[in-house]
């Protein structure tokens, strides 16, 4: 069986088109959002549908295994008791949702000046480097990311997850806390003025840790200390929980003190996230 390979001129043409696309989409704003807006409208619902089907299949199997356990108990306990247990299992999901909502309400009272928008994680990043993950909040939800404007992303426990990198019509890309391109001004809650930088580090990413550097001399930093955002820079409000110090190290080159931070947010278990929109910043309309 012989099949025709693509002609050279088609390959050249496609390569040129790809290079042009790369250059165009590398520019801030621009074509990337146009492509994603159109494609996302068709593709995202398909992926969401498929993923929710996967979840339902998973739920079905877990329900089957849970039922098996219950059957054993039914033999031991009275009927009334087993009915109650079944009800508890059915309501477990509702309780989870209630907890999320309760946490979100707490979040709302804590960041009064911010509008809080909640969304789902659509997909995780593919590779360990360079790639980002996506959430289902976009320009339709009032999120307009530009080259000088971004938004903090938190989980339901008010821990920092990352920041937005770009926003499309119905989705946005998130730079997670442990990404090598992420940094935030941080501090120990009790100390005033001793701000330092917490950033993602390639070296410690595999250990699921962040690195705190540029720590001023005399900063009272100890293993077990809670690290929060300092509020400097204007993007992140003060007091967002980043993580806990797990190790104090000394940089071999500069001899400066550094610290390894274990993020408070469980990034792998994220399903729901909250984006803080600061209306005190230049109006979102300007972003448009």
């Amino acid at each position: 069986m012989k099949r025709k390979a693509p002609r050279i001129f088609i390959i050249v043409l496609v390569t040129v088109a790809i290079l042009a696309t790369m250059i165009l989409t590398a520019l801030p704003g621009s074509t990337r959002t146009i492509i994603t807006d159109y494609f996302g409208r068709v593709f995202d619902p398909v992926v969401s549908f498929f993923q929710s089907s996967l979840k339902s299949v998973g739920n079905f199997f877990s329900a089957v295994s849970e039922n098996r356990d219950l059957k054993e108990e039914v033999a031991k306990l009275e009927k009334e008791n087993s009915d109650l247990r079944q009800k508890v299992i059915i309501n477990e999901e509702k309780v989870k949702a209630y907890d999320e909502l309760e946490d979100a309400l707490n979040l709302k009272s804590r960041f009064k000046d911010y509008e809080i928008v909640g969304g789902n994680v659509i997909n995780r990043s593919i590779g360990p480097m360079f790639d980002l993950f996506r959430i289902n909040l976009g320009r339709e939800d009032g999120i307009w990311v530009t080259s000088d404007r971004s938004y903090p992303v938190l989980d339901s426990q008010q821990n920092l997850v990352g920041r937005l990198y770009s926003s499309e019509l119905g989705s946005s890309r998130v730079v997670p806390l442990m990404h090598e391109g992420f940094s935030i001004s941080a501090k120990v809650p009790a100390s005033a003025g001793n701000n330092f930088r917490v950033r993602g580090s390639v070296e410690y990413k595999n250990r699921r840790l962040c690195l705190a550097d540029q720590i001023p001399e005399g900063t009272p930093l100890q293993v077990g200390d809670l690290i929060v955002s300092s509020g400097d820079g204007g993007l992140y409000p003060e007091g967002i929980e980043i993580g806990t110090v797990v190790e104090i190290i000394t940089d071999s080159r500069s001899n400066a003190m550094q610290a390894l931070i274990e993020p408070a947010s469980q990034l792998e278990e994220l399903n729901y996230v909250f984006v803080l929109i600061d209306h005190a910043l230049p109006s979102a309309i300007e972003g448009k």
């Binding site: 069986m1 398909v46 391109g181 390639v202």
Partner: protein, 194 residues
């Protein structure tokens, strides 16, 4: 791979490839606890397997489409994934062979090569196009950390190849037609009848 490489009408192919793309892409980027382990990179290996089994422009086209999906789902810009997928599909198509043994040999050669090239290219991209140029980045460090996860990634990608091959075999499955024996063959064929 005779089962997968056989000629099939275009609509059946489009259907199989579309289903494969949606299913595999959704599984690959499914958020959850399992992201702690190295995940099989289906979108990277789809053009390779299709190129090696179907030849012609199919690997090339699939490379472009799966690359676009990669760019759309997690990329920072469009074109990188498409370019990578196109090259993989094109090269794989050039090494197409209907011989089963030859196919496996080439797959076993391409599988680590593609994984390695992908890691190196992602490392270089992270280094030359950082998200924040103010943050310190060392190329040696990125390379070292990337290669630390190589064995697991190789295993995961081999798994991806097997899964893709299985899906393709399933998609292009054809019932074997039973050869009806003629009366003459029933008695031992033409020679015996003579």
């Amino acid at each position: 791979m005779p089962g997968i490489s056989r000629p099939i009408n275009i609509w059946q192919r489009v259907l199989v490839y579309a289903a494969l793309l949606v299913v595999l892409a959704s599984i690959q980027v499914f958020p959850g606890q399992w992201t702690r382990i190295a995940a099989p990179d289906f979108l990277l290996f789809l053009p390779l397997i299709i190129g090696l089994t179907r030849a012609g422009g199919e690997g090339f086209t699939m490379g472009l489409i799966s690359g676009f999906m990669r760019d759309y789902l997690t990329g920072r810009l469009y074109g990188l994934g498409m370019f990578e997928g196109m090259i993989i599909g094109l090269l794989a198509g050039l090494f197409f062979s209907e011989n089963k043994k030859m196919f496996w040999k080439r797959l076993l050669l391409f599988w680590p090569a593609v994984t390695l090239v992908h890691i190196i290219s992602m490392t270089l991209l992270s280094y030359f196009f950082p998200l924040d140029s103010n943050l310190p980045l060392s190329l040696a460090m990125i390379l070292r950390e990337s290669f630390a996860g190589l064995p697991l990634m190789l295993v995961a990608n081999l798994f991806a190849c097997v899964i893709i091959l299985f899906f393709l075999w399933l998609g292009f499955y054809q019932k074997k037609k039973k050869h009806k024996k003629t009366d003459l063959e029933g008695y031992g064929g033409y020679d015996r009848a003579l």
